[in-house]
């Protein structure tokens, strides 16, 4: 089943809230994981692993470095769905 951009954004926001306590309202496409949301590399990896399970995608370690914003992650997930 393919997820839409909105569904991925909402799902990611849920994962981010679970990991960091950040309100889902603050999670928007243009937000930077590090600069805006203050998510450290370990929390980021936890979110990535949970996103892989939730959306059925594989996000390699090397790719994680390129996911600067929430929008980057949404684009990667939607374009790499099985």
């Amino acid at each position: 089943m393919a997820f839409s951009n909105d569904e991925v954004l909402a799902g990611l926001a849920e994962l981010i809230t679970d990991e960091t306590g950040i309100s889902a309202d603050e999670v928007a496409l243009e937000k930077s994981f590090t600069d805006d949301l203050d998510i450290d590399s370990i929390s980021m990896m936890t979110i990535v692993v949970n996103a892989e399970e939730k959306f059925g995608v594989t996000i390699p370690d090397d790719e994680v470095k390129n996911l600067k914003t929430v929008g980057d992650a949404v684009t990667f997930i939607t374009s790499n769905q099985a």
């Binding site: 370990i42 990896m45 370690d61």
Partner: protein, 333 residues
């Protein structure tokens, strides 16, 4: 006609008799390390759970730490040092490659002429050593074995490194292993993945240092990569070790993972779905990450703080540079 050789056999079971511990003499708080890495006490606590780490004085060696830990384990075990016929030291940080740490330790603890060898399996070294000791005894190659994890990692840290140096401490943990009437050491699930050799390890060779093309080699890691592997891949290994031993998480008295980072320990415990009754080793908070020494040091502390754990089952799992890993369930002495 060729004569038939005698091949030895050993006892059916082994167990850990006792633990010993030695920590670096100096407690180093985060504030002492934050300057060169442009950081703060809060930053280190939040990312690692470490408040202080122990480091040894300049003149103290991994051999000294290993000797002290082994001597305590032997004294607590009640085994005569002369009966110990093998000494295994897991270490990656002794600055002299040869002679081995283990041969000197064997002599110092009164076990000369025990067989002695060092083992390089980084943070999985103690679990590897326990596997070796169990196998040697059950094969009839040794009767009583001392296994030590010993590191002076402060010799291989770079004060300006933000990847791993500020986590590291110095110490040694030891056990005496011998024959048992009942099973005391479960099957080991162990292995390696050399395709990820660059994820954690030394940044330069000694030759590069010798010829002036690199500074003194120090430890580095790809933190997020190691974190992902250490939790989600190692959880599978931990579950396999439980299954191989024929026990479930609810049967455990204690969980003692390698003390790499409190965030790894917390996520690991969450993924394993450990019941609240399982006591978790969290020695890293005041000892830091001591690589091969971390599991026996953490267990030694647990047994001091929770003597009721004696006789219970502990799941221990080591993982680190190689990458290598090893896990087994043991009965606590």
């Amino acid at each position: 006609m060729t004569r038939t050789l005698i091949q030895p056999t050993g006892p059916a079971h082994t167990r850990i008799y006792a633990y010993g511990a030695a920590r670096g003499e100096v407690a180093v708080p985060n504030d002492d390390l934050i300057g060169p890495i442009d950081s703060s006490d809060e930053w280190i606590r939040q990312r690692t759970g470490i408040v202080t780490r122990v480091r040894a004085l300049e003149q103290t060696t991994a051999i000294d730490l290993a000797t002290d830990a082994a001597a305590e384990a032997i004294a607590r075990s009640g085994v005569d040092p002369q009966q110990i016929d093998a000494v295994i030291v897991a270490t990656i940080s002794n600055p002299k490659q040869t002679p081995s740490v283990s041969a000197i330790v064997a002599d110092r603890i009164g076990s000369n002429p025990a067989a002695a060898f060092d083992l390089n399996a980084a943070c999985a070294g103690f679990a590897y050593g326990v596997t070796q000791a169990d196998a040697l005894i059950r094969a009839g190659a040794a009767h009583y074995v001392v296994v030590v994890g010993a590191e002076k990692l402060s010799d291989v840290v770079d004060p300006a490194d933000r990847s791993i140096s500020f986590l590291l401490g110095d110490g040694a943990g030891a056990v005496v292993i011998g024959p048992s009437d009942t099973p005391g050491i479960g099957p080991t699930v162990w292995g390696s993945d050399g395709s990820k050799a660059d994820a954690v390890g030394m940044n330069y060779t000694l030759n590069e240092f010798r010829y002036g093309t690199a500074p003194w080699p120090t430890l580095r890691q790809e933190g997020p990569t190691v974190f992902r592997w250490a939790v989600w891949e190692m959880v599978k290994v931990a579950r396999q070790a439980l299954e191989a031993a024929g026990v479930e998480a609810a049967d455990l008295a204690a969980f003692v993972p390698h003390q790499a980072n409190m965030r790894i320990i917390d996520e690991f415990a969450k993924q394993l779905k450990l019941p609240d009754t399982v006591v978790i080793g969290r020695d890293i908070e005041t000892t830091g990450n001591t690589s091969a020494a971390s599991i026996p040091l953490a267990t030694h502390r647990l047994l001091q703080e929770h003597p009721e754990l004696s006789g219970g089952l502990a799941l221990q799992i080591g993982f680190g540079a190689g990458l290598v890993f090893g896990a087994q369930v043991v009965v606590l002495p």
